[in-house]
Amino acid sequence: MADLLLVEAVNDALHVEMERDAAVMVIGEDVGRLGGVFRATAGLQDRFGADRCVDTPLAEAGILGAAVGLCMAGWRPVCEMQYDAFSYPSLDQLINHVGRYRWRTRGKMSFPLVVRMPYGGGVRAPELHDDSPETYYVHTPGVKVAIPSTPADAKGLLAAAIRDPDPVVVLEPKLIYRTARGDVPEGEHVVPLGEARVARVGSDATLVAYGAMVPVAERAADALVGEASCEVLDLRTLKPLDESALLASAAKTGRVVVVQEAPRTCGYGAEVAAVLAEKAIFDLRGPVVRVTGYDVPYPYWQIEDAYMPSVERVADAVRRLLHL
């Protein structure tokens, strides 16, 4: 076990996986010489050479499009998008090619690429360094989506993504890159995609969260001690969703609050609520409450805390649910 920050765990995963499999390469803006603007790829170019950790031109569609071709040539490219909102130029490649190419070859060719990026708000940054774009990724057929909330999962989910035969988007909560710290298994460590984690056991309400919202949910659960016993479910993988874990917790508590930073409408919380409305309706003792970002452009950073789901908002939602 090593005691690592979340971003260090990402870096560790890349080292271990590149060591393990010579077909893994890292490409992106400033990932090489600089080691990434968050240092997530630091040391890789020195260790594995400039052919396996490549500084690309400033062109996100080019990065992801080239990655498709790299897969066809036998590589397993891990693409870094420098920030959430700068991944949008690559959505076209993602939707029209990355998610469809295996299908197009009738399953004969694999596209084992990974797109990873720091995402999310709360970091006091200029505009467009704060987005939570998971909906765009989750809605797209043919790609999987994972979001870690702990250093161990950041390593394990990224390793799983790299080993997966299909394209996986890994969103890394930049807000806790350097505040989430914890034990991380050394060497190879894989957290299978599609398995949620019960971060805290409880009986009165389930708080469903992922990424940087997991610590918020946990702190809300703390704040509610004495009032309500909250289960915190860290989804870890948004697609495929661990439906049985979700349904089991909902069946147990009968009350669900979903927390998401992204704008509300058609956010991932809607999918969670829809699954519950479809498959757990008779278990629910009250509404499924969404605590989310709002349907507005991510705000000026001096007031960003009012936009982000807070411990208070989550706790308030639980209290409302309990008193219905």
């Binding site: 390469m25 052919d51 690309t56 031109p57 062109a59 569609a61 080019g62 992801l64 499009g65 080239a66 990655a67 498709v68 071709g69 790299l70 897969c71 066809m72 040539a73 036998g74 590589w75 130029p89 076209d92 490649q93 029209n96 090619h97 998610g99 469809r100 190419y101 295996r102 299908w103 197009r104 070859t105 009738r106 399953g107 004969k108 060719m109 694999s110 057929p141 043919g142 999987k144 997966d164 035969p165 299909d166 599609g194 495929p240 439906e243």
Partner: protein, 354 residues
């Protein structure tokens, strides 16, 4: 020894008109010429029959490539079979030159899963529908092959309109910087559906874009299969020796509708179309070969009959494909599909069955 001649507008040309315009030559044996001719005729026959099949309701919407055959066959002839081809919808049948059954391509246009192939079987990538988006694929493939020290060149085909897309630009930028062994082959048929190339870009020529990517740009008469071959051969040689990518602009004029659903009479210059038809690429090469004594009328007729026969068999094969099963809706999207797919299929079967 090859002899490539300058043509009108600075286009490279080899084939003359049998009169004032002198013939050049390229370094091909008579057998190679015949091979190339066979490819050309095969594509022409595929195209002409497809249009008929479409009218008969036997294939769906179809993107006609009549008079684009020289660009496709000429350039593909400069490749080795280990080199990869990244076609657009306009080159849908280019796999035929690699031994792909015509029934496969017909099935693609018939919307039947049998039309989707394994690119590794022919070193031909899937047909790319969204304009220009396969350019970075070809570049990534070429780059990746070079990194693996594999001697494989890639060629991406796209149209004049495609050069306006960001994905073309980003792919070309990557190609230049990475010195990827790739040929960016632009079929400049001077139209993007109804949009003439003059409304597409203010660049003097499309080949002028090449310098912005740090690669050479060459212009060639797209209806001259030998000029196309020769220009591509040079580009392939550069790619193989590590000199990087080349942009080839092959100029022709679209003489057919954009696709079966299109009515170009609203926008096209019909006179120009007629002129171009006169000078279409298959006849031009055929007359060249006849002049050179490499081909006889009888042989030409045989080649055409063979191609027709192949198409007759192909459409029959395509039409006798078993109907696709609905289970295919859920297959191949993921290596390891979620359990929900099986549930969805079960439900669907129940409902369809009932």
């Amino acid at each position: 020894m090859s002899q490539v001649l300058p043509a009108e507008g600075g286009l490279r040309r080899v084939i003359g008109d049998g009169q004032a315009l002198l013939d050049g030559e390229v370094d091909l044996t008579p057998e190679q010429h015949l091979d190339l001719y066979r490819g050309l005729v095969l594509l022409r026959t595929y195209d002409e029959r497809s249009l008929v099949y479409h009218r008969q309701g036997r294939v769906g919407t179809y993107a006609i490539f009549w008079n684009h055959e020289a660009m496709q066959a000429g350039s593909a002839f400069a490749l080795e079979s280990r080199d990869w081809i990244f076609p657009s919808y306009r080159e849908s049948a280019i796999g035929l030159l690699r031994g792909m059954p015509a029934s496969t391509v017909l099935s693609w246009w018939r919307g039947h899963p049998a039309g989707w192939w394994n690119p590794e079987d022919y070193n031909v990538a899937s047909i790319c529908v969204p304009i220009g988006t396969h350019v970075p694929h070809a570049v990534g493939f070429a780059w990746g092959s070079r990194l693996k020290r594999e001697d494989r060149v890639a060629i991406a085909y796209f149209g004049d309109g495609a050069t306006s897309e960001g994905s073309f630009h980003e792919g070309a930028t990557f190609a230049g910087v990475l010195k990827a062994p790739v040929i960016l082959f632009c079929n400049n048929n001077q139209w993007a559906i109804s949009t003439p190339v003059a409304a597409q870009t203010a660049a003097p020529t499309l080949a002028d874009k090449a310098i912005g990517y740090g690669m050479p740009g060459v212009r060639v008469d797209g209806a001259d299969v030998l000029a196309v071959y020769e220009a591509t051969r040079e580009a392939v040689a550069r790619a193989r020796t590590g000199e990087g990518p080349t942009f080839v602009e092959a100029v022709t004029y679209r003489t057919a509708p954009h696709a079966t659903a299109d009515d170009p009479s609203i926008y096209i210059d019909e006179e120009r179309v007629e002129e171009e038809k006169e000078n279409e690429c298959v006849g031009r090469y055929e007359r060249y070969l006849l002049r050179m004594g490499v081909l006889t009328d009888l042989e030409a007729e045989e080649v055409k009959q063979e191609a027709l026969e192949l198409m007759r068999t192909a459409i029959a094969e395509a039409e006798t494909e078993a109907p696709a099963d609905v289970s295919l809706v859920f297959e191949h999207a993921l290596a390891d599909p979620p359990a929900s797919f099986a549930d969805d299929l079960l439900e669907l079967r129940r409902i369809l069955g009932g």
